[in-house]
Symmetry: C2
Subunit: 480 residues, 2 copies
């Protein structure tokens, strides 16, 4: 392949080889002779592939399926065999071997450079003491790290972050999860499914604070039914695990951890075998050299073309979690597709006049699935967000109780809500809660993004007897 | 309630109380003081509820779920317990007791009249020797019957129709299914799943003749893998079961049936314990009095407002299978909603100017799910149908192989095809094949009915990692 002299210059250099970085590189050079490099300090494939989406969903799916099978007359189902589930998880994270991703990069004519990339000036990236020059673009795609709060003793106790929780090798007996967001709810779900006794410490008064109220309530009820103890209005104020030690070569576990808790129904001291911190994220930009190009520390602000604000010359981009638009893999990849197309157009002197040169769906049309039990699938604006944004809003909310849902499982319990812009008679958002509603979501996403009037949706007939027939009930309820 | 003198006249009289008839009656009187009657000779709820969709899906769902559970490491699943599956099926058909449907009718202010309804002139319906008068509308919703071909000995052998196959109480050891359409494929699937040795006699060279070729092939492969023997290019030419007898009070089974088969790889004589005829349908109009209003025998032709053609005065309507537009429950209900709205508008002297007064989706935007293993979910036009209709067509076809599908089950195998109108850059149709793709379909239905340009669909981001990410692959493939 290329020698080091040839590779000192690339058309496009991407720092961070997660899904967003990979897509930005691939789209920026697709169908051209442009060259690209991805600089990656860990594994090509990124957080999502090894430490987030993939392992968490691999841990969650067997529990969901077992629950469905157990509730179906005629099937006798047992489980979970924890070792089998963990082995399947290991297969999904390729045992932390990124060679298939590296092969993908090679096949896509993208050079992979191992090391921590750092901006060294305009269009310059430093890695392993070597300076690379980008002819057209540098894309920042370094993502985020788990945030560990400054609670006394917490860092020293070597708490689990989401990375440890997704990559667990043994299921701790007693686990305390700190946080009430998506990561906390999903981790509590799989830990409980795999046999742990889980307590969740939530600072606020609800899980999934940005979700529709009924979604928060149902996830809370689902976790509680799974044996998870949720303590609202609480936070750890002191953590102790005296023997824990990070030797640099490995972490000494240190045995049970003691957590002093403030607030909530019980001001008390909890003892657990593991503590999982899911208390937000911080940008992975500390050593990225943002100052070298005149940018402040922290997240990298971009416009809808994913071009960094405050940098001259349209050469610096940021995609994925690091730009703080939407911290979701699929939206990072979406931004990356737009970003790659923008880079390609600018490199070829084409104007940015097409729909595809702006990440318009990032603002009010974002889909997300929370793989709890029940699942929460939502797209666009919640009622509260729509009202805050000044829309003229109507809503319909009802149970998902149609022939298809009853057929799917005897204990099916689901609920759906749509948020309607009464000025245009279109959907601003939708939230579905229930078993496997994640795959019901794309219909709503298409309706929201396509801004299809309800009068037209009336003619989009759900096939009988599928679960999607609840769409008919929603439209009928709106008419009535 | 009303006395017989009062009930001799209704605003709306519906003959046939299946899902289409029920919806037509309900929509025609909704929000008004109008009166309605449903005349039903069997069970209110109709074919779908007791003898078709509901029992067939109740028989199919456990097999699909067992297959998913068996292929998930960490779960140990056994089954099927045939008695448990049949009992669940019985629950879904309410043990052929229609009291819940009758209660629904009462709550909806619809009078149920038991008996065979028959047209007796303009706006007149005769039932049980009594004549009812409709002030505004008569709606025909009598559906269809299974067609039994004139094969020598076949009728005398008392073959099973779809009704018997969905309501089986014991699983026959050896079954011959005659037909290659949806009913034949689904019946072969559940019979094989429940333990029968099944042979399917298909006159043509493919199952599901109107489906995309890859869908036909995959259903054929799925049935074959389930142990079903499919003999293409064959048909029964003589059937014998000497002891079979319909006494009027019950059917004497008559033991094994001998079927002489012509064509295919083996011209031979098959012996089976049961023969299932799934060889099309014929309209249930023989005793409907169509001649009294000047209509020919057979299906009742209607326009998009569901008004019968060839009858003066806009008072006669037909919805559901009997109008021969689309023989699917959900489309019959859709027609019924349109029909009910049209009746209401005409009764109130309002013009039919709204989108909702025409069953526009009946022609080229019909969704359908075939609950075989794999499932087939399709909406709109196939490539062949689109070309026949003169559209300027492009297609994308690819395997459904995304993170979400791998997570769903290790053995996930699916395929998707979209048919694109290159003049408008919109979808004309889509076909998905794979486990549980039925609930992927509504996204396509909305895209097809909403005529959303692909450039806009690009911004409808599938949530990661759901199966719906194959939408991204389809759009990427189209771009490439």
């Amino acid at each position: 392949m290329s020698s080091s002299v040839q590779t000192a210059e690339f058309d496009v250099i991407v720092i961070g080889g997660g899904p967003a970085g990979e897509n930005a590189a691939a789209y920026a050079i697709a169908g051209s002779k442009r060259t690209a490099a991805i600089v990656e300090r860990e594994l090509v494939g990124g957080e999502c592939s090894y430490w987030a989406c993939m392992p968490s969903k691999a841990l969650l799916r067997p529990g969901h399926l077992l629950s469905a099978a157990r509730n179906m007359p005629g099937i006798s189902a047992d489980g979970l065999d924890v070792d089998a589930v963990l082995r399947r998880r290991d297969a999904f994270v390729h045992n932390h071997d990124d060679s298939s991703q590296v092969a993908w990069a090679r096949d896509s004519r993208i050079e992979v450079i191992r090391g921590a990339g750092r901006l060294a000036g305009e269009r310059l990236v430093e890695v392993n003491g070597r300076t690379l020059r980008a002819r057209h673009a540098v894309v920042l795609a370094t993502g985020t790290h788990a945030n560990i709060p400054d609670t006394p003793g917490l860092r020293e106790a070597l708490p689990w972050t989401s990375r440890d929780a997704t990559n667990l090798h043994e299921v701790p007996d007693r686990v305390v999860v700190v946080g009430g967001g998506v990561v906390a709810c999903e981790a509590a779900t799989w830990l409980a499914t795999l046999g742990a006794r889980v307590t969740v410490l939530v600072r606020g008064q609800a899980l999934l604070g940005n979700a529709e109220p009924f979604a928060r309530e149902r996830v809370t009820a689902g976790l509680t039914a799974a044996g998870v103890r949720i303590l609202f209005g609480t936070e750890p104020v002191r953590v102790e695990r005296p023997a824990a030690k990070d030797t640099g070569e490995g972490r000494i576990h240190g045995g049970p951890v003691t957590i002093e808790v403030r607030g909530g129904p019980e001001d008390s001291v909890l003892e657990a075998d593991e503590i999982v911190v899911a208390a937000g994220r911080r940008p992975a930009t500390a050593d990225l050299g943002l100052g070298e190009v005149g940018l402040p520390d922290g997240y990298v602000e971009v416009d809808d073309s994913l071009t960094a604000r405050g940098v001259d010359g349209d050469w610096l981009y940021a995609v994925g979690d690091v730009n703080h638009r939407v911290a979701l893999t699929h939206m990072g990849k979406y931004q990356a597709r737009v970003c790659g197309d923008v880079i390609a157009a600018r490199a070829e002197g084409r104007p940015l006049t097409d729909l595809r040169f702006a990440a318009t769906a990032d603002h009010e049309q974002v889909p997300q699935v929370v793989f709890t039990s029940p699942e929460v699938a939502a797209v666009g604006l919640t009622e509260a967000a729509a009202r805050r944004a000044g829309y003229s809003v109507d809503t319909v909310e009802l149970d998902i109780a149609v022939a298809g849902s009853s057929l799917a499982r005897d204990d099916y319990a689901g609920r759906a809500k749509v948020v309607i812009d009464t000025d245009t008679d279109t959907l601003l958002g939708a939230t579905f809660v229930g078993p496997e509603v994640g795959d019901q979501l794309h219909a709503a996403t298409i309706a929201v993004v396509g801004k299809i009037p309800l009068a037209t949706l009336w003619h989009a007939v759900p096939a009988y007897p599928t679960i999607s027939e609840f769409w008919l009930r929603l439209l009928e309820a709106r008419r009535a």
